[in-house]
């Protein structure tokens, strides 16, 4: 099977700092993969490389059989990668519903003229976008908050809204950057179920960064471990838990 995402020898330098070096990973269609590592290991940088926020200093990133290194973020999203942000980036002054509607953007086909004169596909497509947005919101138990201003949502709900919004872009690959950060154990548990469920419902492939080990070990099929920008281990949750390199990286000192 062809991997959906494959990075080969990707390097990212920030001045003299090698944030990511010789980064090789592959993700097969339908997989649920974890990316873990200590603070500052380069996990978010890897996401920024995959989504075009940063350009790799060298190396290639293949998505769906095409090299996407060098494309702009919106082009990559249109090709089928959507993401959430570690430091939540909602459209905080807008309503919860509008946050999701915005993300349907590249699937709306009516032209500016059709919008201005309110003819043609305008009404049908707007109705569809609104209906689909409500459907996504109800999946994430946010539908009763649809008219609420996004910034007024509790933290956990904001994280769920970010996932709902990313799904509105209809991605093949979903990148989640610490989706459980700031959630209590109960919320984290519900989130785990939800991630599994949307993977099946939306036939998604998911790559997630997470510090909560119960979540990572609980749902990921394979895990990559990053330290100082390098992948130090890769395998199933059991293999990772017993890997001396990983134990050393997390606990410090000699294994």
């Amino acid at each position: 099977m062809e991997p959906l995402l494959k990075s080969t020898h990707v390097v990212e330098m920030f001045g003299g700092l090698k944030a990511v070096s010789d980064f090789n990973i592959y993700i097969n269609p339908g997989e649920l993969i974890g990316l873990i590592g200590p603070n500052g290991a380069g996990k978010t940088t890897a996401f920024n490389l995959f989504t075009g926020v940063y350009q790799p200093t060298s190396g290639t990133i293949e998505f769906d059989g095409q090299n996407i290194a060098g494309l702009k973020p919106y082009e990559i999203t249109q090709r089928g990668i959507a993401r959430t942000f570690q430091n939540i980036r909602l459209f905080s002054e807008l309503s919860v519903l509008d946050n999701v509607k915005i993300a349907f953007h590249s699937h709306v086909k009516y032209s500016v003229a059709e919008a201005v004169f309110r003819v043609g596909r305008y009404f049908d497509e707007e109705a569809l976008v609104t209906a689909e947005s409500h459907r996504l919101l109800s999946i994430f138990k946010l539908d009763d908050k649809a008219e609420e201003t996004a910034k007024n949502l509790p933290y956990g709900a904001q994280r769920r809204l970010e996932i709902a919004r990313a799904l509105a872009a209809k991605p093949k690959l979903l990148l989640l950057d610490e989706p459980a950060a700031g959630m209590n154990p109960q919320e984290t548990h519900e989130l785990m179920e939800m991630i599994r469920w949307i993977r099946d419902q939306f036939s998604l492939t998911i790559l997630l960064i997470e510090h909560d080990m119960s979540l990572v070990m609980g749902i990921c099929e394979r895990i990559y471990v990053l330290e100082y920008g390098e992948i130090i281990a890769h395998g199933t949750p059991e293999q990772i838990q017993n890997n001396p390199e990983v134990i050393r990286a997390y606990l410090g000192g000699e294994a």
Binding site: T51, V53, K72, P73, Y74, T77, Q78, A82, R83, F85, R89, L90, F91, S92, E93, L94, S95, L97, D98, K101, I102, A103, F104, H105, S106, V108, Y110, V112, A115, V116, F117, R118, Y122, F123, E125, E126, V129, E147, T149, R165, A168, A169
Partner: protein
């Protein structure tokens, strides 16, 4: 007919009634020529502040060059009507198109800049436009272009104003307008949601410039002579005050801002120094008590007594 269309119809009826009342008062001789001109100017300024609001309020790009686009529309308009004897509508369309083309050409490189840098660049470009016009002898240079036929009438202005307001309202309530609002809210997130941020910034800038051009053509045909002096950066600043006073991201605000500022400067025409003091005081009070402007990010049509529609943020309406 769905609720959106019903609401559009309601607004249209309101517009027609307002037109009949003001137009009737003008025809009936209840309004003197000084206020007739100022009512026409209010209509033109609504077009200018609403179109500037599309750029500054909805898309969040700080433009200070609106008078420049207005000047282009004014001069192209008067060339078409005065030198080529075409009707006003041709002058308006020609002026709007010329301003749109220039807006596109200027927007493409400058919209890479952010915040203050964009403000400075657009301010400079607005001034450059004015100085270039000043040096073209064909349009009369610094002395101005004279012999303009007095073609602008209240019905023309009112109809164009309504058309502009509907066009901008419909635009911001579409996926294209949401893209612009998303850029204002968080540019990185907007791009991550598949929005071509450069394209939409340039689009908003171009549409804004086009309407400024149309307004410029209407403005020019109110007078016998226009000169580059009518389009200085102080003029751009005036439109900015209308937008900020009325409220960013609100068309109701643009109407209110244009009305208040234009009526105020007309009422204080004989005491121009008072005008600046009142502006300054108004802006200071605004900063303290209502930093978002009179109608920041809300529309009157969404407030409870006006409709049963749900209130959405971002100056939207359905």
């Amino acid at each position: 007919m769905n609720s959106v269309q019903k609401n559009d119809l309601r607004l249209l009826v309101f517009g027609v009634v307002l037109f009949a009342v003001i137009g009737g008062a003008m025809e009936g001789g209840f309004i003197g020529s000084f206020w007739k001109l100022n009512i026409i100017l209010i209509g033109i300024n609504v077009i200018l502040s609403a179109s500037l609001n599309l750029i500054n309020g909805y898309t969040g790009q700080f433009s200070l060059g609106h008078a420049g686009f207005m000047a282009v529309g004014a001069y192209v308009g008067v060339i078409l009507t005065t030198n080529f004897h075409l009707p006003l509508i041709a002058g308006m369309v020609g002026g709007g198109l010329a301003a749109a083309v220039l807006g596109f050409l200027i927007g493409l490189p400058t919209l890479r800049l952010n915040g203050d840098y964009l403000a400075i660049a657009t301010l400079g470009l607005g001034e450059i436009i004015r100085i270039v016009i000043m040096n073209i002898q064909y349009v009369g240079g610094a002395a101005g272009f004279s012999g303009i036929p007095h073609l602008t009438t209240f019905p023309w202005v009112f109809a164009t104003m309504l058309l502009t307001l509907f066009a901008i309202k419909n635009f911001v309530n579409s996926s294209h307008g949401r893209a612009c609002i998303a850029i204002r809210e968080n540019e990185i997130a907007a791009a991550a949601m598949g929005i071509n941020t450069t394209k939409y910034k340039v689009l908003a800038f171009t549409i804004g410039a086009a309407f400024a051009g149309v307004a410029g053509a209407l403005f020019a045909h109110c007078f016998y002579i226009i000169s580059p002096g009518s389009f200085t950066f102080m003029q751009s600043f005036n439109y900015l005050i209308m937008v900020v006073l009325g409220g960013l991201g609100s068309l109701t605000g643009s109407i209110a801002g244009a009305f208040v500022v234009t009526a105020l400067s007309a009422a204080l025409a004989d005491w121009p120094e008072f005008r600046m003091i009142i502006y300054a005081l108004a802006l200071i009070l605004l900063m303290f008590y209502r930093p978002q402007g009179l109608f920041g990010y809300v529309e009157l049509t969404k407030l409870a007594p006006f409709s049963r529609l749900r209130g959405l943020k971002g100056g939207r309406e359905e």
